[in-house]
């Protein structure tokens, strides 16, 4: 049976696999809701590039800067 897409593991929750339909460049993890940008390394191999950029960054770097 022909596969519907490429299977990836969500880097955030690692719960099961997420199927990326062929050629699709964004997905959302059905388990944790995290949105991911997708790179197609070859027409049949996908990888996660990073978080969907519209999501607000949750870093805490500003708290580390020198207080004076």
């Amino acid at each position: 049976m022909q596969k519907e897409g490429y299977e990836l593991r969500c880097m955030r929750c690692l719960k099961g696999r997420v199927t990326v339909p062929w050629g699709q460049t964004e997905i959302q993890c059905p388990h944790c809701g995290q949105g991911w940008r997708i790179t197609w390394v070859t027409p049949t191999v996908a990888k996660i590039r990073g978080k969907v950029l519209s999501k607000e960054a949750e870093g805490g770097a500003s708290s580390l800067h020198r207080p004076f």
């Binding site: 593991r9 390394v41 580390l64 800067h65």
Partner: protein, 628 residues
């Protein structure tokens, strides 16, 4: 027959000996035989930079044969950075060429009266003047030696100015980016006035069954190129690990203060490097993976910077660790350390440490002048590299040694210097959540090391039956669980040791987390074809254990560091601050309990010292045996 050359730089004398076959089968080559030679030829208690302290080069036992990805050479000695077992390896072409030039190992002692390089070819070793190369960076040095020998096809392992200046974390470089990085083997080389070793292989190697070897190589080629990770590794190389670590909340941002580097999103990505800077990919000897990206910066303040790599460690070290999301600063920093011959792990670890000291007000403007050490400040990042290599300013203080620098700086600065076994912690690594991986890395003989201790399968959530099949006993698929992890850590340590004895790149093996890449059975196939030995996976695992124990015995002999050297850095006991894995930390009591189990399984006492019966079982009871 595999040969060892003993090179006395003081007397300019060379003697050679063949390795008896039974000894070769006990330690193979590369890291294994290097460990044997070090234990036997390093006078107990000798200072690391003393002329009597040997510098040892080793080709893997598979190097030089047409086997897949067997390219790596090992450099070993007493570490000037830790005073313990020092070793590091690199790919490229040097290892196979050295074997084809007539030698599997070099044991170098003494100190040359003037800067010298060795020229190894046709079974000969010549001493040549390196006055012209001394003071030059690694790129220039290799170019000058190629001109001197009138041969652009020689392969050269050399040091830059950092090694000449005895920077404690100087490395040995080959080509544009191949670095035998950690534990300061470049300083050891510099202490001997040895600028470089040039090799060219013209000999042939005895092969027990050439037809079988060809068949084995073809099968292994198909096996590797059909693996799921091959298309990704062959395009992005190890850069692809960055997203995995960062998005999983396991990165060491801001000197391990944060476990996620938000600033990287959309900027510091392997795809950005691929789209903007990569010109093409190149490979090491006989490797189909070709994971190395050759790059050039065409415009902007870093116009003209070119090189090969960069690796995950550069991306994370010059990125997340120092709070920088500018790819060009990563590339410029990598270029500088490759030219000077500085280890990326220690260099970026020290920069991150100094920046945290600035953040906390421990390092002030006067101490840091002429730089301000704000996170991500490119001028400071690059300036500190220059200072370290030249032993000037604040960077020059850490070039002497981090612990000493912490004493000079004072004000509690040592608390933020993460280290183990005297070695500054691998800057890019935050494995406090992954229990077996952390244990495997922390108990490594050269100091915390992902290359010998990372159990990648642990992190991929594989079914327990798959893990049980790999490791030969039950292992919990949850990476935050301890069940089965001490045994898993030991399995990994022996597996990576065997890869380094063979000279095989770990990315062609199961190690990065690919069950279809090469494993013990594949290694046995190649060894049978080359040597005719009826070797089994069980025997290979025992060789891995033997080498591991001999390395440990070197540490026991040279240092009073025992159990405390097998603990993770203190920062790992603090909870992660960000999602995912927010709040997750290493529990000290749980770690201690697992360490006890690890020692018991190894047949060591609770101080981490091998018991007599363990050494006897592994055939190490008579060491040092001085058989070669």
């Amino acid at each position: 027959m595999e040969r060892v050359a003993y090179i006395d730089l003081s007397k300019r004398e060379v003697t050679t000996r063949e390795i008896p076959e039974d000894l070769l089968r006990k330690f193979l080559g590369g890291m294994g035989m290097n460990a044997y030679l070090l234990y036997n030829h390093c006078p107990p208690g000798v200072p690391a930079l003393d002329p009597r302290s040997p510098l040892i080069f080793g080709s893997g036992i598979l190097n030089g044969y047409m086997d897949i990805s067997a390219s790596r050479f090992q450099v070993s000695g007493k570490s000037p950075e830790t005073g313990l077992y020092g070793t590091a390896n690199a790919g490229g072409f040097f290892g196979p060429e050295m074997k084809l030039a007539g030698f599997q190992h070099l044991v170098i002692t003494g100190k040359a009266a003037q800067p010298t390089y060795l020229w190894i070819h046709d079974g000969r070793i010549d001493f040549r003047d390196a006055s012209r190369e001394w003071g030059k960076d690694t790129f220039e040095t290799q170019k000058l030696i190629m001109e001197d020998l009138a041969d652009p096809e020689v392969h050269i392992a050399c040091i830059g100015q950092a090694g000449e200046n005895l920077v404690r974390f100087a490395c040995v470089m080959q080509g544009l980016k191949r670095a035998a990085g950690r534990t300061g083997m470049g300083a050891l080389m510099g202490s001997k006035n040895l600028k470089a070793i040039a090799v060219k292989g013209t000999k042939t190697l005895d092969t027990h069954d050439p037809t079988a070897l060809l068949g084995t190589a073809q099968r292994h080629y198909r096996q590797i190129t059909k693996s799921k990770i091959f298309p990704v590794l062959s395009r992005y190389g190890t850069l692809t690990i960055f997203a995995l670590q960062n998005e999983g909340g396991q990165i060491a941002a801001y000197n391990n203060q944060l476990n996620y580097f938000a600033e990287a999103e959309g900027k510091l990505e392997d795809e950005v490097f691929d789209e903007k800077y990569r010109e093409k990919n190149v490979s090491c000897f006989a490797c189909p993976i070709h994971c190395t990206g050759r790059f050039k910066i065409d415009s902007g303040p870093y116009k003209g910077v070119f090189g090969e790599g960069p690796e995950y460690y550069y991306m994370s070290g010059f990125g997340a660790v120092v709070g920088n999301a500018d790819w060009e600063v990563v590339l410029a920093g990598g270029d500088l350390i490759n030219r000077y011959g500085l280890d990326v792990g220690s260099t970026t670890g020290y920069i991150g440490w100094l920046m945290e000291l600035w953040q906390r007000g421990i390092v002030d403007r006067e101490m840091a002048a002429p730089y301000t050490l704000e996170w991500g400040n490119a001028e400071a990042i690059l300036g500190l590299i220059h200072q370290m290599a030249k032993k000037q300013g604040l960077g020059g203080i850490v070039a002497e040694h981090g612990v000493w620098a912490a004493q000079v700086i004072g004000k509690g600065s040592e608390k933020y210097l993460h280290r183990g076994k005297n070695l500054i912690h691998e800057s890019a690594i935050n494995d406090r959540a992954a229990k077996g991986t952390c244990l495997g890395e922390a108990t490594t003989n050269r100091g915390f090391c992902h290359l010998r201790g990372r159990s990648s399968f642990e992190l991929f959530g594989m079914p327990e039956e798959v893990l049980t099949k790999i490791y030969g006993h039950p292992v919990d698929p949850n990476f935050q669980s301890w069940r089965g992890k001490p045994a898993m850590a030991i399995w990994t340590q022996h597996f990576t040791t065997i890869a380094d004895c063979l000279g095989t790149c770990k990315f062609a093996t199961m190690w990065p987390g690919s069950i279809t890449n090469m494993g013990y059975e594949n290694f046995c196939e190649t060894i049978r074809a080359i040597k005719g030995w009826d070797i089994t996976p069980k025997e290979l695992m025992e060789i891995g254990e033997r080498v591991w124990n001999l390395e440990r015995m070197f540490n026991v002999r040279e240092s009073s560091i025992r159990r405390e050297g097998d603990m993770p850095p203190e920062i790992f006991y603090q909870p992660n601050k960000l999602e995912p894995l927010k709040g997750v930390r290493m529990d000290r009591a749980e770690y201690e309990k697992a360490l006890d189990e690890y020692y018991d399984l190894r047949g060591w006492n609770r101080d981490g010292v091998p018991k007599t019966e363990t050494l006897e079982r592994l055939g190490l009871g008579e060491e040092p045996s001085r058989r070669v």
